[in-house]
């Protein structure tokens, strides 16, 4: 297998210009790169370019391992608030996730429901498009509407519009205290109702998930404030009690579903529809979890199941993270929208070098 690992943007651009067939773009290699394409690795594009804790901004090369980024921030008591998911447990891969990879799939964890997705914390990006042109967009300030937001367009584009080389993010302080509250609950309908009650309250819930047996709520902030809000939430949701463990990394990564020999799906839909779909899938024998107050559904289904057939009336979209089915892994967009996306890919990558593989 050919691996090209440019050491700088110029080398990357050169490699792209010289290419005569599609690449598999690889960050940390945690998401199973295809074997039949040469690998274009960002491993040579690493390091923090600028970190200004007083301005809450971090500029970093795209190939920098996530762990390294998190360490740098932790030293100043700051963090990436979107808590990117780690794909390794579900995909059974190894390697170190990179910041570029996280952004390229818009990997967002439980805090997405309150703080936002990876895309929401992105301030700017540099990428090299399919013709080897370096493009800079956005910047490193909190508010920036200068020109089109091509940086955010890269979030979730999986490199299909270009190879990310440098990213800037808004970072946030690490809160003084984190608390998790749990409520026994075995039906998705009730779980979503309780999560909606919590998320619709002024007590700033930063995680609201259902693991199949319990509703889990997270609150973060100054210690006194966390204690106060925990008390108020328990008042409006009787039965809610402090939980000792930290369930959030496992919920973020779908860790409970990973060991099952099933297909794994991640479905984004409106919260109340999350309850409906969860109920349908459970009846069909799937293992289901909910996050984002119900707006993110995780399902482990029998291999080959077409989950999308169950949600035709619900809207949203489903991604098959793991498994081989006859249906595409990514949710097809409606024709006029798909045409716009295809048009953009044609413009930024006319030779199809970065065409997604599935």
């Amino acid at each position: 297998m050919t691996v090209i690992a440019p050491a700088c943007e110029a080398e990357l651009a050169e490699a792209i210009r010289a290419a005569n067939g599609p690449f598999a773009i690889r960050g940390g290699g945690t998401r199973s790169p295809a074997a039949d394409r040469p690998v274009l690795s960002t491993a040579g594009l690493v390091g923090v370019v600028l970190y200004e804790p007083g301005a809450l901004t971090l500029v970093v090369k795209a190939g920098t391992p996530l762990a390294e980024v998190e360490d740098v921030l932790a030293a100043k008591n700051q963090r990436l608030a979107f808590e990117p998911m780690d794909h390794r447990p579900v995909l059974g891969t190894s390697g170190d996730p990179t910041i570029g990879g996280a952004l390229a799939v818009n990997a967002s964890g439980p805090r997405r429901v309150q703080a936002g997705a990876a895309r929401d914390f992105l301030l700017g990006a540099v990428f090299v498009d399919g013709e080897g042109t370096r493009v800079r967009n956005g910047g490193r300030v909190m508010k920036n509407v200068t020109g089109y937001d091509l940086a955010r367009l890269q979030a979730g584009a999986r490199g299909s519009l270009g190879v990310l080389t440098e990213l800037s993010f808004k970072v946030l302080p690490v809160p003084e205290r984190v608390a998790t509250l749990a409520l026994a609950c075995d039906t998705p309908g009730r779980a979503v109702a309780e999560m909606s009650r919590a998320l619709g309250s002024p007590y700033e819930v930063t995680g609201a998930a259902w693991d199949g047996a319990r509703v889990l709520l997270r609150i973060e902030g100054f210690a006194d404030s966390v204690a106060y809000r925990a008390g108020e939430l328990a008042r409006i949701i009787p039965g809610l009690a402090p939980a000792d463990e930290d369930p959030w990394p496992a919920l973020r990564d779908g860790a409970a579903l990973a060991p099952m020999e099933r297909d794994i799906w991640r479905v984004s839909l409106r919260a109340s529809h999350g309850a409906v779909l969860a109920e349908r899938l459970r009846e069909a024998g799937a293992a289901v979890q909910l996050d984002w107050g119900g707006a993110l559904l995780w399902a482990a289904t029998a291999p080959g199941t077409d989950l999308r057939a169950e949600m035709a009336d619900l809207g949203g979209h489903a991604t098959r993270l793991r498994g081989q089915g006859s249906t595409p892994a990514r949710h097809p967009d409606p024709a006029p929208v798909a045409a716009l996306a295809a048009g953009l890919r044609q413009k930024f990558d006319p030779r199809g070098l970065f065409a997604p593989e599935g």
């Binding site: 200004e52 804790p53 007083g54 301005a55 809450l56 901004t57 008591n77 700051q78 967002s108 997405r112 936002g116 997705a117 895309r119 929401d120 800079r136 967009n137 910047g139 490193r140 300030v141 909190m142 508010k143 920036n144 509407v145 200068t146 020109g147 089109y148 937001d149 091509l150 367009l153 979030a155 979730g156 299909s160 909606s196 998320l199 619709g200 002024p202 100054f222 006194d224 404030s225 106060y228 984004s268 409106r270 919260a271 109340s272 984002w292 707006a295 993110l296 809207g315 979209h317 991604t319 990514r330 006029p336 929208v337 798909a338 716009l340 953009l344 890919r345 044609q346 413009k347 930024f348």
Partner: protein, 476 residues
């Protein structure tokens, strides 16, 4: 500021264009009387004006699609308009363009508190979105100062921010889905009531595209539960530099207020005259707001006061009543208008890294002396989004040009220290020619490619955002 000269071939067909629009749209939708067109010759940036060829004010997505389809077929440029409150000339017409305004699309289509979303037609004003849900304890977070009047369509076009974006993010962070009409009349649904895109995140590029990719007629927005309480505190300082340093210290300390606003003396006086908020008469004022329960508010304010006191504030005063808080915000949000009592002005919108505030404020002072034009500063200090108001006399020949030059110098300074030309108002026509200061030719070309896909004939709002020389050959 150069405006492209209208295409004579289009002007010649004016009667035909108007006739086709009138035939396709209900009576009272198309304005073509020259007197009436004059009122649509500009938005809130009055320095540049040009009456359009015609104005259409449709009442539905379908009518918007009809109007666009006709213009597309006839090759007529279109300038979309929301409430016409752009400070960047976002809805400034060209003489050969049809203005399509969405002001009559104001309905609330769906409200769902369990899912915390609202779907509205985009002519609805920002504040009336909150108005539709506040009795039930919710609000729509982005709060541009013009929120009383500005429309959601324009908020999406400019990716509008506001004072409370420090905590809640800007429009793009609160927008879930849109119904958009493309230039050829195709209606597309992008996003929905769910979070994040399945494939490409087209919403992210639509939001902030200044009406160049399509006309958004409906939007699904995130609504949030209102905090238990909120309290602004006023802090007066002896100089802008010290106030700027205080802001950066607060942010670094890890206390995140929901808003940190800055006003200097000229602005304080103008706002006080309108809102009677009891602002102290100081050189530089910070309005810092925190939210939560009374105890949480007290705790945060204690921390903030602790930091501020190291900078020797002249005044620290917490608001004690809801009426007082409302007056404090009314004054701040009316700052641009209130300055109108005193002078003509040009409002800038550059953003800088917060750590550069003291330096940039000082340099602006120097430029003011150099050009002999006064400057009043009012801005969102917490996120470095500055609004220097350059004061000039619109009736004095040459003053506008001088003002434009000074504005360009300030914006170049913003870019120089690591910032950008515009934080929330948009490029529009005002900052169009400065885009090359911030972007390379390749950077701009990449943006143009996006428009090529959405609007291949370059008919939508095409004289904006990018320097005319850069778009030459693409525009009809």
């Amino acid at each position: 500021m150069e405006l492209p000269s209208p295409n004579p071939a289009i002007l010649d067909r004016r009667a035909e264009i108007v006739a086709r629009l009138k035939a396709a749209l209900p009576a009272g939708t198309v304005i073509d009387d020259p007197r009436g067109l004059v009122a649509y010759e500009c938005d809130a940036l009055t320095a540049y004006r040009c009456p359009p060829l015609a104005v259409a004010l449709p009442r539905s997505t379908q009518e918007v699609a009809e109007a666009l389809k006709i213009c597309h077929e006839m090759g007529v440029p279109v300038v979309p308009r929301g409430a016409g409150t752009s400070l960047a000339g976002g809805s400034l017409p060209t003489g050969d363009a049809v203005v399509i305004g969405v002001a009559r699309l104001t309905r609330v289509l769906e409200t769902d508190y369990a899912d915390r979303i609202i779907r509205v037609e985009t002519g609805r004003t920002n504040l009336s979105v909150t108005g539709a849900v506040e009795a039930d304890g919710f609000f729509y977070a982005p709060d541009p100062s013009s929120q009383l009047a500005c429309a959601i369509s324009g908020n999406i076009g400019m990716n509008s921010g506001g004072a409370h974006c420090l905590k809640y993010g800007v429009t793009t962070n609160n927008l879930l889905g849109v119904t958009m009409v493309l230039m050829d009349g195709t209606v597309v649904e992008i996003g929905g009531a769910h979070m994040d895109a399945g494939d490409l995140d087209l919403l992210s590029v639509i939001c902030g595209s200044e009406g160049q990719l399509g006309i958004v007629t409906e939007a699904t927005l995130r609504i949030l539960p209102k905090p238990e309480g909120a309290r602004p505190v006023l802090m007066g300082f002896g100089s802008s530099r010290v106030a700027g340093a205080c802001v950066s210290d607060i942010i670094e300390a890890g206390v995140l207020p929901v808003a940190i606003e800055f006003m200097d003396r000229p602005c304080i006086r103008a706002c006080e005259a309108f809102a009677h908020a009891g602002y102290p008469d100081v050189e530089a004022l910070l309005i810092i707001e925190v939210e939560g329960s009374p105890a949480e508010i007290d705790h945060q304010l204690r921390l903030i006061r602790g930091i501020a006191e190291r900078h020797g504030p002249e005044v620290i005063r917490e608001s004690t009543t809801a009426e007082e808080s409302a007056a404090i915000w009314l004054g701040r949000k009316s700052a641009f208008g209130a300055m109108g009592q005193i002078n003509d002005y040009m409002c800038l919108d550059g953003t800088i890294p917060v750590t550069e505030l003291p330096l940039v404020l000082e340099r602006i002072g120097e430029l003011s002396a150099q050009y002999g034009l006064g400057v009043a500063n009012v801005f969102h200090a917490g996120d470095g989004n500055m609004h220097p108001l350059i004061l000039f006399d619109a009736n004095k020949p040459g003053d506008l040009e001088l003002c434009e030059q000074m504005g360009a110098d300030i914006l170049k300074l913003c870019v120089e220290v690591g910032g950008c030309l515009t934080g929330e108002h948009g490029v529009g026509v005002e900052k169009r020619d400065l885009m090359t200061v911030q972007f390379s030719e390749d950077d701009l070309e990449a943006q143009l490619k996006v428009k090529d896909v959405f609007d291949p004939k370059w008919l939508l709002n095409a004289a904006k955002v990018f320097p005319l020389a850069v778009t030459e050959g693409r525009r009809p």
